[in-house]
């Protein structure tokens, strides 16, 4: 990532928009100077916690002391040395289930955001770059989708497709792509008037080639920063759908589904505490990371 998204509003000498004031590439800076820009407390804390969770995902099978799907002793046991987070209504070890749940909740959220970014960027780029009737068809579709409160649309899609984690995943992509379509379209509109794009067109480059080589790469930074910042919301949305019974189904150790079990056994607080604390730690870490990256790259545009 070598481009910083500075303010793009000023008019350039030839009527287009000016180049951003921030240095365009910091590749010339020594590596350590570049690294130092990321040495902020939010980023260090966030990245460390995320790394720990990545390790958990990789080693869940080794780290988990018990089988997440079968009883490992008494039912509804409070936390102890043997069962760090206690056991649930079927006697399963909550700690082991939380570790295995990370393998579901986190990759699904990342995949959902990646797919939303891909779909949204494609729509936004095509709409912004070609304009005209393409824009007039694509953007109202995005606007209508965004006029749904996201949870209601996700619930409607999940209900129509039937419960299941894969369908919850599709529901979230259906809700989230317009945010990136809007963001990328705005970026494209300002980038395509810049001199280097005009120059590329002038020497006879095709429109698709210009879009791919000279326009899209420049919108990469704001999109990835926003994607990091949205990841936390997506993790929560996946869990929310599962909590409502529209996502992962039992006996899945998905965190939201586990909290449903915790709500049913309200006085056995540890059943909901385990997955809840896990989710809060991940989402906080990801949001810290996004917050820090936003400061580093000075991205303001939220696209909504």
């Amino acid at each position: 990532m070598t481009i910083t998204a500075g303010p793009l509003a000023e008019a350039g000498p030839f009527g287009g928009t000016a180049l951003p004031q921030a240095p365009l590439d910091d590749e010339k800076l020594p590596f350590r100077a570049r690294l130092r820009r990321f040495a902020r407390p939010q980023i260090v804390v966030g990245a460390t916690v995320v790394l720990v969770w990545l390790l958990v995902i990789a080693l869940a099978g080794v780290l988990a002391p018990h089988d997440p799907f079968s009883s490992s002793g008494g039912r509804l046991l409070p936390p102890s040395g043997e069962h760090l987070f206690g056991t649930d209504s079927l006697g399963r070890d909550v700690f082991s289930r939380v570790l295995h749940g990370a393998r579901l909740s986190l990759p699904i959220a990342v995949l959902a955001i990646v797919l939303s970014v891909l779909v949204g960027s494609l729509v936004g780029a095509v709409a912004g770059f070609f304009g005209g009737w393409v824009d007039a068809v694509l953007m109202p579709t995005a606007d209508i989708t965004m006029a749904f409160p996201s949870i209601l649309l996700a619930m409607a899609v999940a209900a129509a497709l039937g419960p299941g984690l894969a369908n919850a995943f599709l529901a979230i992509v259906a809700v989230w792509w317009p945010i990136y379509a809007r963001l990328v379209r705005g970026q494209i509109l300002s980038i395509k008037e810049r001199e280097h794009v005009l120059a590329a067109r002038a020497i006879g480059m095709g429109r698709w080639a210009v879009l791919r080589k000279h326009v899209l790469p420049h919108s990469l930074t704001p999109v990835s920063v926003n994607a990091t910042m949205d990841l936390g919301s997506i993790i929560i949305l996946v869990a929310s759908l599962s909590f409502l019974g529209l996502g992962a189904l039992p006996p899945s150790p998905e965190w939201g589904a586990m909290i449903t079990d915790g709500a049913a056994n309200f006085y056995q607080w540890w059943i909901a505490a385990g997955p809840g604390i896990a989710m809060v730690s991940v989402v906080l870490a990801v949001n810290f990371l996004g917050d820090g990256l936003r400061d580093v790259f000075d991205v303001k545009n939220r696209g909504r």
């Binding site: 209508i144 999940a158 039937g162 929310s240 409502l244 709500a263 309200f266």
Partner: protein, 337 residues
């Protein structure tokens, strides 16, 4: 201004048509059989019941015909009949909307008041510990899964400490006030029933506070950055040069200018509040639109789902429109076009 408002109002039916169309075809593309919801599992084996229900709900007509019937009914203000409750969706929604509005409105007030106080404190202690704590707290507020926070609060304050009331809008065996606005707090006051008001208010406070958390962080951050920006303005220097105390300048002049943009957040917040309503109402057994949406989704009650989506869309669009108008009214520099 009037032209802007009219043009935006004219766009709303178009957007609503889009919402209805998406929701309609989404719900009809479903693989499972809505008859299970309508007649119940037991009657599915009875061909007479099934045939009658299919006819009564128009499920024997083609998709295009069903869509046309739905749209023409919609124009007349008929949202169809719920598969599950067997009563008109519009009546169901009307009965449940006030509960959600009361909750969301209280949450909004809490978020704006606490957020402004927090933002001012953060701006005045800029760079010191309090500022850092508030920044982290603001970020944490939007990082917490509300349904889990709801459970934690209920466990701590209701089950363990016993200082918060049980979930629900009123205590058990308390009769709701006569229906005027549908807001239990307002209706109980109108009826002059003070104990009923305190009961309704006590039940409202905790879910509304949890609902406000999603918004609180955003308000704190906005007020903080606005305060810091305004502090560098010329009028602040002038007031200080004329001998006005720093605290007085901040409270009299800066704050007033700094909180104006908070109005813009109200539009954005509608979506967040609806999301909160769905989850918090489920945890707190709050009989509003949110629980209705959840019950309808679980029960494949598609007329109801479409109706909820429509209400959500209307609230969202109206919220945004009101925000734009309010902002232009308060801040004459803003031109609507």
């Amino acid at each position: 201004m009037l032209r802007f408002t009219l043009r935006r109002l004219a766009l709303i039916p178009l957007l609503l048509w889009g919402i209805v169309t998406i929701a309609f075809f989404l719900s009809r593309s479903v693989s499972s059989n809505p008859l299970v919801t309508i007649v119940g599992e037991r009657n599915l084996g009875n061909p007479d019941v099934v045939a009658a229900a299919t006819r009564r709900w128009g499920l024997d007509k083609s998709l295009a015909e069903q869509y046309w019937v739905y749209l023409t009914n919609l124009v007349r203000g008929d949202l169809g009949t719920s598969f599950r409750t067997k009563s008109p969706v519009l009546d169901d929604l009307g009965a449940r909307l006030p509960a959600t509005l009361e909750l969301a409105f209280t949450a909004l007030v809490i978020a704006v008041v606490l957020g402004t106080v927090g933002g001012v404190i953060a701006a005045r202690t800029q760079g010191r510990v309090a500022d850092g704590v508030l920044r982290v707290a603001a970020l944490a507020g939007s990082s917490l899964p509300v349904f889990w926070v709801g459970l934690v609060f209920l466990f701590v304050f209701y089950a363990t400490l016993g200082i918060a009331p049980s979930p629900g809008r009123l205590s058990a065996r308390v009769i709701p006030p006569p229906d005027v606005t549908g807001f239990y707090t307002v209706d109980s006051l109108l009826a002059g029933d003070w104990p009923l008001f305190t009961d309704a208010f006590a039940h409202l406070l905790m879910p509304a506070f949890i609902m406000s958390l999603a918004l609180l962080g955003t308000v704190i951050r906005l007020v903080r950055s606005q305060m810091l920006e305004e502090q560098g303005a010329d009028y602040v220097r002038t007031a200080r040069a004329k001998g006005m105390a720093r605290g007085q300048v901040l409270n009299r002049h800066v704050l007033k200018n700094a909180i104006t943009p908070v109005v813009t957040l109200i539009g954005v917040s509608v979506g967040l509040l609806i999301m909160g309503a769905v989850l918090i109402e489920t945890i707190f057994s709050w009989n509003g639109i949110g629980t209705y949406a959840v019950e309808s989704s679980r029960g494949l009650d598609f007329p109801a789902i479409t109706g909820v989506c429509l209400v959500g869309g209307v609230l969202f669009l109206l919220g945004n429109l009101l925000t734009d108008i309010a902002y232009a009214t308060i801040d004459p520099r803003v031109r609507l076009s």
